[in-house]
Amino acid sequence: MVPITYYLLLAAALFCMGMFGVLVRTNALVVFMCVELMLNAVNLTFLAFSRMHGDGIGHVSAFFVIAVAAAEAAIGLAIVIAVFRSRGSVNVDDIRTMKH
Amino acid sequence: MSFFDTHLLNVVIYLPLVFAALVLMLPSTEHGQVRAITFVGMLLDLVFGVWAYFRFEPSGAEFQMEFRVPWFQQFGMSYHLGVDGLAVSLLLLTVFLGPLVVLASTTYITHRIKEFHLALLVLQTTMLGALASMDVLLFYIFFEAMLIPMYLMVGVWGAEDRRMAAVKFFLYTLVGSLLMLVAIVALYFVSGAPGTRSFDYGTLYNNLLGANQQLAACASGPEGACASLTGLAATLHTYGPWMFAAFALAFAIKVPMWPVHTWLPDAHVQAPVAGSMILAGVMLKMGTYGFWRFAIPLFPVAAQAARPFLAVLAVIGIVYGALMCLAQRDIKKLIAYSSVSHLGYCMLGLLAVTSEGATGSAYQMLNHGVSTGALFLLFGFLYERRHTRLMSDYGGIAKVMPVFTAAFVIITFSSVAVPGTNGFIGEFLVLMGTFKSTLPLGFGAFATLGVILGAAYMLWMVQKVFFGGITHRENQHLRDMNLREMLTTAPFIVLVAVMGLMPQPFLDRIAPSTDRYVARASVGAPGAPQAKNDQLRVEVMSLPSTAAAARPSVPAAPLAARE
């Protein structure tokens, strides 16, 4: 039997890695992927706790998370495309027009 | 139980709004109709307002013609109207000015006429609502809503420098009143346990009363006696001064008291004649009215502590305002500063906390509305003809405009409080109240200086504008007042005489409110004769259901729990 803590640790690690990626990578697409990573870490936590308490709510939440993630990916990627069209780059460094 | 027994105030308040809707439907090219409809609306409102004034029983309950229905119960709010003697008097003043303002601006306003009259009507509603609302939050809503039409009036139909004036007026007043909002909310949470809280004036006051009395008792006691206070009294001991300061600042700006008066000259100078009339006539009274109704009775102890300070400001306002007038070249500015001086009397009378002083103050509010309103009105007529505000551009007008001069001089005498005119009664009572009060005699003496200076600057202005030879060619063919202008001025002159010679009918309605005010204000005064609680408590109609109090959904622990 695997202690629940292990799962949580794994989730934490995954989350932090995703966060790291979001914060350091410049490629918008990679940033998105890292966001997905973070989402998955969250899902993992949900499922772990759900298992621990032995009821299905966690599963439902995970299900919703996935759905939202799908939507988010769709819109995000669309935006990336639009930005690339207008700027010819998907580097977050180059996209900083929303300033004073 | 007829419709008007319950709804008269609603009618008075919302009639202008109804007519605003009518005006809205008119095509904006139909100037005549727009003016006519507005005028009729104001006139009807005057009728109902006068009716309300006469319905008010001086010997009856404190608040009459009450109307209360649940509204936002979750927030402990209710739609609650009602007037006491002072409110009904000011209400009368407001509805009295209404039609005259419309008449005054028939030729003065030449563009965006429909919008102007819309603004007028809405403004009327908000002012009446603020006067009649018995729920603090409701009052605040009207109090703020008032700014918007006035802002437009100054900003759109004002003189050359109107934008600056409008923005200044708006921000200046907003600063204070936002602080007041904070204080109101804090007061709401302080005022009681979750079940019993309410924004209703009566509930608030009654909830605070006991604590205020404890506080007063310990404040007059030995040093540090207040440390032992608990609960609401302790809270008030800590936060009361701040809340009072917030209220006081908001109202002091509105009054305006020295030194937060500088918005007034600009706003007055730039505003169109209607704006100036309403501003001087009614809006400034909202400040004094606020002190009278909210700031001082709710925080008697803090008010007592701040009283000398505020009184000093008031006296400074009187003398300083008068001195300012002596330095002006611009007639409208002069009149504006004279308002600062007159309102100083109102404040001094309030702070004297004697029934003479308070009565005088209340009466002075009405006088100032009449006489200064009339001054602005008359100068408006002159401005229409010459489009200059500088005294040096006039001179010897009396030769060509005798009737106008006569009217102006009469109003001037009322403004310098010559006995027999309305001004005298108010000033005399205020000064006597000040002398009778516990304030040092110096206050009264200095305030009386205003009597001299008032005559000096007003007559100086009259001299420069009307007397002497005609110095400018443009002035040689000014036409005298026409019928409309005479009709607009006549009511003021009649009122000056009536209020001066038989003030008692007006005073009778003010008197009961005065006694209550003095009783409530002297809760904080150590050694002052204290009234019984049943005289102090605010008796208002309760909601049909007891749901006016807030649900426990609001944070359970009042500020009191923090210590």
Binding site: M1, V2, P3, I4, T5, Y7, L8, L9, L10, A13, L14, F15, M17, M19, F20, G21, L23, V24, R25, T26, N27, L29, V30, M33, C34, L37, N40, N43, L44, L47, S50, R51, M52, H53, G54, D55, G56, G58, H59, V60, A62, F63, F64, I66, A67, V68, A69, A70, A71, A73, A74, I75, L77, A78, I79, F84, V90, N91, V92, D93 | -
Partner: protein
Amino acid sequence: MNIELALFGVFAVMTLVSAGLVITARSPINSAMALVSTFFFLAGIYVLLWAHTVAVMQVLVYAGAIMVLFLFVIMLLNLGDAAHRGRPTVTRILGGASAFGLLAVLAVTLGRTQALPAEMGPQAQATFGTMAAIGQSIFTSWLLPFEAVSLLLLVAMVGAVVVAKSRI
């Protein structure tokens, strides 16, 4: 040393490794691929957690739909190895550091928590994690969120089209 723990170990290690690849790989293609593998291993872990349905959905939606979308976009934009690492600015460094810091904090926290039972919780009923059970709760007590989500997806779809299309 039972089999479950062993499997968990394998899956966990592989997940972390591929996640590491995701954030380190030079070109987006590689990171995308690494992400796919991450999802697969995670699915395995889900299974260990008796969440078969979610595991299946993970594979279907993530590894299937979303990743295809990613790859498609990458292809479309034709970013080969063009991607370069950004200059390490102050904020980047701080951000990365904070990520590790957060990891440390979480680790410490988890390490010190006694509340969690070492053993898995009570043996849930046989239906635990089955499609039936999830469907049951989704379509009864969670119906409204479910509908909301479906609406969200619709909106997302339309939005994506609108945003991505060069001219409408």
